[in-house]
Amino acid sequence: MPMIEMKNVSKWYGEFRVLTECTTQVEKGEVIVVCGPSGSGKSTLIKCVNGLELFQQGDILVNGISVGDTKTNLPKLRARVGMVFQHFELFPHMTITENLSIAQIKVLGRSKDEATERGLKLLERVGLKEQAAKHPGQLSGGQQQRVAIARALSMDPICMLFDEPTSALDPEMINEVLDVMVELAQEGMTMMVVTHEMGFAHKVAHRVVFMDQGKIVEDDKKDAFFGSPRSERAQQFLSKILHH
């Protein structure tokens, strides 16, 4: 059973169709990179996986559980799916430690001590242990994004979704975030990553999904995608993004 299975997902904003029959899957331990021009529906697609965006047709199964089924307990499902956002979205009024422990306590029912210990361990892992008592506004963008990754990991997720995790970062901070993600990938975490970082895709992705105008145009093994993309649109996209 795939970790994430997407079957003919379509979505409309009123009359406007943003996703058209998107079908793909992510196996356990697999890393897939979703790329494509802006406005192609990548972010919308990844937000459908944990039900942050609703879709009108098709279905998505996460670890066998249907996201589209109205009877599904979405908070319970989301608690096991880690998500990292473009703009970090740490909770600004909480310290870093509180950011890392609040959901463990309120959602998973862990004790405060247990949650704090687990949070600090993950914070150390992303190299920010000394920032534990600070607030998000006191950290750089790259540091905030690493905390956001640690926060998602604190819930012991079965898979991780990344929605353009480096797009809002200064160039010199991109690598510190990518390094953490590469490490995660190498440890066997199941990951679905929307990104334009083709270096990251080269290094750790198993498959690349290319989207254009709400459709999955290409869904191929990494080497096949970079070697000889079949669609003209993907060829254009790659030549622009790789040779700038």
Binding site: F85, L90, P92
Partner: protein, 247 residues
């Protein structure tokens, strides 16, 4: 300039004689006693109405930002109802019309009706501020909360409201000060608060200047005290690393 006579406050309200020490003893009431009691009524009406306004305003403001269309409609209707009718008219409606339409309210003291009238009027304004505060956080924080596995109520409780309320402390301060000033409409339904005191005391004593200056001073002090209290709260709640938050 006419000579001022501050002794007026030491006069007994019945026989007009100056009472030594200015405070009437057993059974006697000086204008100073009356002034202070009126101040007490003003503060009571204001603070109780503020509680009503904060509770209902926050609730309605929250409802208007939920994904449920029915709740949004309820919050919107509430807000529009109470902010599109003049405050004085609302007070009269509570006093004259509502008890006539809803018989169980007939025995309710006018003090309670004024608290409800002023509280609901202000709740519409606070609802608007709470809605604006929540919406200023954009969609990202809501999604982040939900993505962590929080339910919608938990997302409001732990993620959205703590920031939204911090953001709207300045307009809430104005609103809290307004409620002190707006409580003066209570005189219209014979609540013995500061404005009613001023009207009656200047009529009885003909010392309008002293009476109104004293009442003005007490209104100012009351509103200013709220202002300072809210500033204290604002400083205490400041988030390090945010605009104006220091380090």
């Amino acid at each position: 300039m006419a000579t001022w006579d501050w002794q007026v406050f030491c006069k007994d309200t019945i026989d007009g004689k100056i009472v030594p020490g200015c405070f009437g003893g057993s059974g006697d009431t000086t204008y100073l006693d009356w002034l202070l009691s009126a101040w007490g009524w003003t503060l009571s009406v204001s603070l109780l109405a503020l509680l009503v306004a904060l509770a209902l305003g926050a609730l309605m403001g929250i409802l208007r930002t939920t994904p449920h269309r029915g709740l949004v409609l309820l919050g919107n209707a509430w807000t529009e109802l109470f902010r599109n009718i003049p405050l004085l008219v609302q007070i009269f409606l509570w006093y004259h019309v509502v008890p006539a339409l809803i018989p169980p309210l007939r025995g309710v003291p006018s003090f309670i009706l004024v608290v409800l009238g002023l509280g609901l009027f202000t709740s519409a304004r606070i609802s608007e501020q709470v809605r604006a505060g929540i919406q200023s956080l954009a969609g990202g924080q809501r999604m982040a909360g939900l993505a962590m596995g929080f339910t919608l109520p938990q997302t409001y409780r732990y993620v959205l409201l703590p920031m939204a309320f911090r953001i709207i402390i300045p307009p809430l301060t104005s609103e809290s000060m307004n409620i002190i000033k707006n409580s003066s409409v209570a005189f219209a339904v014979s609540i013995s608060e500061l404005t009613l005191f001023a009207l009656q005391a200047q009529e009885e004593t003909s010392r309008g200047i002293e009476v109104y200056l004293a009442v003005t001073g007490l209104y100012f002090i009351s509103a200013f005290a709220i202002n300072r209290a809210m500033l204290f709260v604002e400083n205490r709640m400041r988030v390090p690393g945010m605009i104006g938050g220091g380090t």
